[in-house]
């Protein structure tokens, strides 16, 4: 199965679930477990929220761009915002003892744990997430 799609959505948090649902729907032919779908959903929504909230400062006129493609059982999702980017190389580790009570900082960590590969562009305003859909077979 080969698929390549792109969409632009206004930076309003009400659009997060619909966008992730559209991507998840395209994964139906893979018969992923509900647990795997939940993992992917979490990554998509965390990345979308970050792009809208911290990148585009929730300005509806600034769109978040999403491209996703599936090729050779590999899902690749790219989410870009219009912001200045962030210092993705120096994020605090939320699993360190001193950070366990923090109220922020778990989203990107979870994305990195749940996806097979995650990388940013140099500016830090575009995240690329890769997931092998046949993993564990």
């Amino acid at each position: 199965m080969k698929l390549s799609e792109a969409m632009k959505i206004p930076s309003e948090l009400k659009n997060v679930k619909g966008a992730s649902a559209q991507i998840l729907e395209s994964l139906l032919p893979f018969n992923l477990s509900s647990y795997d779908l939940l993992d992917i959903r979490l990554c998509l929504e965390e990345a979308l929220i970050n792009a809208m909230k911290y990148g585009n400062k929730l300005q509806p006129d600034l769109p978040v761009e999403i491209t996703y493609n599936i090729d050779n059982d590999i899902l690749k999702v790219t989410i870009s915002d219009q912001g200045q980017g962030f210092d993705y190389k120096n994020l605090p580790d939320p699993t360190l003892e001193e950070n366990l009570q923090e109220l922020k900082g778990r989203g990107v960590y979870l994305i990195r744990r749940l996806m097979d590969e995650v990388f940013y562009n140099d500016a830090g305003n575009q995240i690329n997430m890769i997931k092998n859909l046949k993993e564990g077979d």
């Binding site: 647990y35 929504e45 109220l103």
Partner: protein, 110 residues
């Protein structure tokens, strides 16, 4: 997300069904903080019917734990689905929350 709050003796039991996310967690936060401000010190949050928790939802649970502990109380999570435990464990929240298999055990665990 639906929230039901009831008092069982001196324990406040909050049952949640649905998803705890950036859009639903403010309501949970508001209702429980109100209850804690009114004096609830023993709080059980029953997650049996919760299918999804995002990082905002996790932050809300941490904030509620901090709030009740600062009032010399405690908060226990009950009947948490396996998948939710797995995700919470990934960010080591299992280290700061007490999990109980059943609501009854959670109520008697204070």
């Amino acid at each position: 997300m639906d929230i039901s709050i009831e008092h069982k003796g001196e324990v406040l039991v909050c049952k949640i069904s649905g998803e705890i996310t950036f859009s639903t967690s403010p309501d949970l936060r508001k209702q429980l903080i109100e209850a804690i401000d009114k004096g609830a010190k023993k709080v059980v949050v029953n997650l049996k019917d919760v299918g999804y928790v995002d990082s905002s939802g996790m932050a809300t649970l941490v904030e509620l734990l901090q709030k009740v502990k600062s009032a010399d109380g405690d908060l226990k999570l009950a009947e948490t689905p396996e998948k939710i435990i797995e995700i919470l464990d990934m960010v080591r929240l299992k280290d700061i929350f007490d999990f109980e298999d059943t609501e009854e055990k959670a109520i008697t665990s204070f």
